[in-house]
Symmetry: C2
C-alpha cells in the first residue's frame, strides 16, 4: 500500500513528517511574497512545492495559473469552502483559474453516473462557488467528460511515461478505472499549460496532502512529455478541517459538517453538538482552561468565521484560560454562522439563475 | 504471461487449439450466408465468434457494421492487403465501415510520434486503400488522437468495468500506456454502436487471432457498460500470411514481404529468393513432388494473386505431383505480381491527390 491513498479516507496525522518525506517546504519561507490571508497567517496553508517559479512569473509580469478540481461527493460544506477561498486568493494575485469537475473520476472510482455528478456540481458546487464570489465567466470551468478531444487524447498519451510499478507504488494498484482517472487528472493539472492555452506557464494546485500523489506523478509526466514543454506544476498544502464531532469531516456524515445550504437552525444544532475542548465541570474548566486545539467550534471560527486575528486571539486566550466557557464560545459561533448563512444563502438565491444560464449556454450534455 | 500478446511478435501455430480455447467457431458453419470469397473458400478466414447476429441484421434489413484498425508500422504489404480485401467483402454486403488509425496506440506502445503515424497512415495505408478500391468518403475514417471528445471520454469510462487482474491476465501487465491504448481500442470497436452513430447494432471486426484479447475484453465492456446498450461485437479470424522466407512476415524485415509500392524488379527478386516447397534436386522433386503447404510463393498466389479456384487447384496438383518445378511456380508468380503491381501503382498515382485532398478537407492536426 502507498503511504497516502488519494482515493481513500486516510486521516493525515503528523504533517511535518509528511512534509519531510515528500519534499514539501514550509509556507513561511515565502509567505511575504503572498497576499495577506488568514489561511497563511494561521498555518492552515502550511506548505508548498515549487511556488517560487509561480511567484517569479507574477513578479516578472508573465502569465501564471492556478488549477483545482471538484470531486462531486455530496453537499457543499465548510471543508469545501477552503478551496474556494484559495481560488479567490490566487485570482486576486492575477492568476488564470482552471476548475475541473471530476465526473470521469467519480464515474470510475465512485460509480457515480455523469448525470448525478453534473447535478451535484451545479447545485452544490457552482451555485455556492458563485455565491462566494467566483465569476464563472472569468474561469476555465469544464467537466472532465467534456474536456475536449485534445485534452483527453493527451491524457491518454501521458500513459506512455509511467510504469505499472510507479502507479502501484503511488496508488496501491493499477486498476484500469483508476489509471484512466489519474491520467485524466494529469491533463487537468497541465491544462493551463497546453499550447493552445498559452503554455508552458507556472501553475499552482492547492491540495490536501492526500492529493499529493497526483501532483508528484503529474510533475513526472510534465518532465518527460515530448510533444510540448511543461513547467512542473507547483502545489500548496492545506490542513483539513476536522469533523464537528472530531475525526474526519465526511460528506457521508451530516453531523460532521455544516453545509452552506444548511438551515440556520440545523447549523446551530450541529454547533451545539460539536466536540469542544472544554473541561467536564465548570470548576475544572475555570481552573485548567480549554484545550483549544481540540475544539471543533474554535476550528470553525479560525478556518472561516473570524477574519480578524486580534479577535480570534482574544477568544483563544479567554477560552484557553478558562475565562470563556464552551457554551459561550458556541454562542459566538452560532451568531457568526447565522450571519454568514443568511447572507450566503441570500446571495446563492440571487446567483442561482445566472449559474443555470451559464451552464445552459456553455454546455451540451450529450454523452 | 497471457496466451496471446496482441502487442507482441507471437507466431500462432495451431489454429484449432486456439479456436477451442477461445470459443471460436469454424467459418464453414455460416459460409453459405457469406458472399463467395476466396478467403472463405480457401480457409484463410477460418473462424468467427458471434457472426450470426451480424448476418441476421443483414437478412432482416437492419443496420450492421464492420470495424477495423490501422496500426502504422512501416510500408504497406500483402499482409496488410488481407484487411482491405475483407473491408471490401463486408462493404459489398452493405455493412457500414469504420476505420481507426491507431496513432495513440503507436505513441504509447511503439514510441511513434503522432506526426510519424499520420505520415505512414496517409502515404502507406490510405493511398493503397484507395487504390485497392476503398472510397474514403464512404467510410468513417479517423485517427484515435482525433476520435472526438465523446469517443475518448467513453473509452476512459470503460476502465470502470475491468480489473487489474483481468488486464494482466489478458495483456501480461497493466502498464498505463498499454491500458490507455487498450481502452481506446474498445471505444474504436464500439464506435459504430455509439448512440450518435445509430447504435446499438451488430458489428464485426476481422482480426488475426493475436488481436482476440482486445475483442474479448471489448465484449466484456459492451456487456457491462451502463450508459447505453451495446451488442457484443462479433469477430472473424484470418490466418496470417507467412514471410517470403518462411517464419513471420514483419515490417522490419523487407525480405519477408512484398510491399504494394515495391518496384516490379524488387518484387521479382524477392520471389526468386523466397522459401519454396520444392525438393533439393530435380530428380527428387519429380519423384516426391513439392510440399505445397511450405511454399511461400504458392501462399502468395493463394492469398492474393489467383482469384480462380480452378486455376489455383491445377497449379497445386501439378506442383504437388512434381510435374511443376519451383522455378516454374515462381515464373507464374512473377508474371502475376508484375501485372498486379503495375496496375496497382498506376491506380495509386491516380488516387493519391484525392487522398491528400480528403485529408486536408477533413482533418486539422493541431494536437
Amino acid at each position: 500500500m502507498p503511504d497516502i491513498d488519494p482515493w481513500g479516507d486516510v486521516e493525515v496525522g503528523d504533517y511535518s513528517e509528511k512534509m519531510e518525506k515528500f519534499g514539501i517546504e514550509p509556507i513561511e519561507e515565502i509567505a511575504d511574497r503572498l497576499p495577506d490571508h488568514r489561511f497563511i497567517r494561521r498555518g492552515i496553508v502550511f506548505g508548498h512545492r515549487g511556488l517560487d517559479d509561480f511567484l517569479d512569473a507574477r513578479d516578472e509580469g508573465n502569465e501564471f495559473a492556478m488549477m483545482t478540481g471538484i470531486m462531486p461527493s455530496g453537499v457543499f460544506h465548510f471543508g469545501h469552502k477552503c478551496v474556494v477561498d484559495q481560488i479567490k486568493l490566487y485570482q486576486e494575485m492575477g492568476a488564470q483559474v482552471t476548475i475541473a469537475a471530476a465526473d470521469i473520476e467519480a464515474y470510475n472510482t465512485r460509480e457515480m453516473s455523469l448525470e448525478e455528478s453534473r447535478k451535484l456540481v451545479v447545485e452544490q458546487y457552482l451555485k455556492n462557488y458563485a455565491a462566494l464570489g467566483i465569476d464563472l465567466e472569468e474561469v476555465d470551468f469544464y467537466f472532465q467528460s467534456q474536456a475536449g478531444n485534445n485534452h483527453l487524447a493527451r491524457s491518454k498519451m501521458f500513459g506512455r511515461y509511467l510504469t505499472q510499478n510507479e502507479v502501484e507504488a503511488t496508488y496501491g494498484n493499477a486498476d484500469p478505472g483508476k489509471i484512466s482517472s489519474a491520467l485524466t487528472q494529469y491533463a487537468d493539472i497541465l491544462r493551463p499549460q497546453f499550447k493552445e492555452n498559452g503554455g508552458p506557464k507556472p501553475t499552482v494546485v492547492p491540495v490536501g496532502v492526500d492529493q499529493d500523489p497526483h501532483i508528484r506523478l503529474t510533475r513526472e509526466v510534465a518532465r518527460k512529455y515530448r510533444e510540448q514543454d511543461f513547467v512542473k506544476p507547483a502545489s500548496t498544502y492545506n490542513k483539513f478541517m476536522r469533523g464537528l464531532q472530531g475525526g474526519k469531516m465526511s460528506s457521508s456524515d451530516p453531523k460532521s459538517y455544516i453545509a452552506l445550504t444548511d438551515s440556520v437552525e440545523d447549523a446551530k444544532d450541529k454547533i451545539d453538538q460539536a466536540k469542544t475542548g472544554g473541561q467536564d465541570s465548570l470548576e475544572e474548566h475555570r481552573e485548567k482552561g480549554a484545550d483549544v486545539e481540540e475544539d471543533m467550534v474554535f476550528e470553525l471560527l479560525a478556518f472561516h468565521l473570524i477574519e480578524d486575528d486580534g479577535e480570534l486571539q482574544r477568544i483563544r486566550e479567554e477560552y484557553a484560560s478558562g475565562e470563556m466557557l464552551s457554551g459561550e464560545l458556541k454562542q459566538i459561533a452560532k451568531e457568526k454562522i447565522e450571519e454568514f448563512l443568511v447572507e450566503h444563502q441570500r446571495k446563492r438565491e440571487e446567483v442561482a439563475p445566472q449559474v443555470e444560464q451559464y451552464i445552459e449556454e456553455n454546455f451540451e450534455f450529450d454523452i
